[in-house]
């Protein structure tokens, strides 16, 4: 059970204006960054008696490189702190893996169309438990830019696959980010993780404000997701620095 609760910890990152949402930005060819995020899923789970709520914190860290001007590769490792009510908390080195993000159109700000599609695929090996779980995720990402307004929509499927079992869930959301002063952006987003099978204990939906800021070679983004279904809150903080 603990393993099932741990798997939904989102293994997603990359340069973004949003907290939980993927964006279509990629690095230029041979660009290199360290990217990281910390996320929390607090008091997650169905209302049952007695309560069995999960508190999860994930630290994701990856070097990322631009394979070319439209394809980015990340090699993440993921650490996890998890506590289910009634059980002692535990920390784990959760997984390692690879992530590819492909932007279907040029990244040139002048030549790029207003609507930009991208796809992201990840494969991670879970190194706790039976060590036979492969975590995978595929996301379709669309972004739209009009003046100072940037919007994004995500539609993805994540799964944990073992030789004997599979669990899949949809990860979807949408958000908007508006440029304010210099490189400071403010907006809002909604994000959901919804099971595609009978195990719905990890389902949740949150909505909340987001903020992003870039300065020179570094960038950050964050959102504070306020739970509207099966979660109390879900803050997430992303950060990256190019070198």
């Amino acid at each position: 059970m603990v393993l099932v609760m741990a798997v939904p910890a989102t293994a997603s990152a990359g340069r973004t204006f949003y907290g939980w949402l993927q964006d279509t930005q990629v690095m230029p060819e041979r660009g290199a960054e360290i990217q990281t995020f910390v996320s929390e899923e607090n008091y997650q789970g169905p209302d049952t008696t007695p309560p069995s709520k999960d508190h999860n914190t994930t630290w994701w860290l990856a070097p990322a490189i631009g394979i070319n001007d439209q394809l980015e590769l990340s090699l993440p490792v993921q650490f996890d702190w998890d506590r289910v009510d009634g059980s002692p908390p535990h920390s784990d080195f959760l997984s390692y893996g690879a992530q590819l993000k492909y932007r279907f159109v040029t990244a040139d700000p002048v030549d790029a169309p207003d609507f930009v599609p991208a796809i992201r695929a990840t494969v991670d090996r879970l190194v706790i438990g039976k060590r036979d779980v492969v975590l995978s995720e595929v996301d379709l990402i669309g972004s739209y830019q009009s003046g100072i307004v940037h919007a994004v929509i995500n539609a993805g499927v994540a799964g944990d696959i073992t030789p004997s079992d599979q669990h899949f869930e949809a990860r979807t959301g949408a958000g908007v980010s508006i440029e304010t002063i210099d490189d400071l952006r403010l907006g809002a987003e909604v994000f959901a993780e919804i099971s595609l099978d009978s195990d719905t204990t990890g389902n949740w939906v949150a909505i909340g404000p987001n903020i992003s800021w870039s300065h020179g070679r570094s960038w950050l983004s964050a959102s504070y997701g306020i739970g509207i279904y099966q979660i109390r809150d879900a803050p997430k903080f992303n950060w990256g620095i190019a070198f």
Binding site: P28, V110, D111
Partner: protein, 192 residues
């Protein structure tokens, strides 16, 4: 035309002379700005709005090409010997181009509204053909020019018009890297 260096001596530096006041469609052949021996070659080019520039890397190590100019911001990433990147220039203006790895590399691209532009010859003369009749502004620009030189010219069908222009050069201005920071000493490292 004449160019004067900061010490008052005449210069044989390259310069571009161009006429503005009317528009022409772009040509089809791309202009080439190579990266060779840690220099952009040539380091001063003029193109017509809508034309492309190709940036081939002729060195045995990586180069980057980027611009933070408001006319055309771009970052071509880093690419190796033999690779070339292409960039279009849809708006008129001045584009300063640098390499994020080698701070000594700098070039200037003039994106002009028509094809009436040429380089200064070694003897200081220049000739621009095909300028339609009318009264136009003629500019001259060289890298590190403190200001472009400008004069008015009246072109009459079937007749030559002569304009003499003079430019003053300043020092090479410092520039920042693509992150808006000063270059570090290690930025001159040769990455293969």
């Amino acid at each position: 035309m004449t160019i004067i260096e900061p010490d008052g001596k005449p210069s044989n530096a390259d310069a571009i002379i161009y006429v503005v006041g009317y528009k022409e469609p772009p040509g089809t052949a791309p202009t080439e700005v190579a990266q060779k021996d840690r220099k952009f070659v040539p380091d001063l080019v003029a193109i017509t709005v809508g034309e492309h520039i190709q940036f081939p890397n002729g060195d045995s190590f990586l180069h980057n090409v980027f611009s933070q100019s408001t006319t055309r911001k771009f970052d071509l990433g880093s690419f190796k010997r033999g690779d070339r990147k292409d960039k279009d220039f849809p708006d008129p203006g001045v584009v300063d181009v640098y390499c994020n790895i080698h701070p000594e590399m700098a070039a200037t691209i003039l994106v002009l509204p028509n094809r009436a532009h040429t380089h200064r010859k070694p003897d200081g003369t220049y000739a621009i053909e095909g300028v339609p009749p009318g009264k136009w502004q003629v500019f001259a620009y060289t890298r590190r020019a403190t200001l472009p030189a400008m004069a008015w010219v009246t072109v009459t069908a079937g007749q030559d018009a002569t304009v003499d222009l003079a430019l003053k050069r300043g020092g090479e201005p410092d520039h920042l890297n693509k992150y808006g920071e000063k270059y570090k000493d290690y930025a001159t490292t040769t990455y293969h």
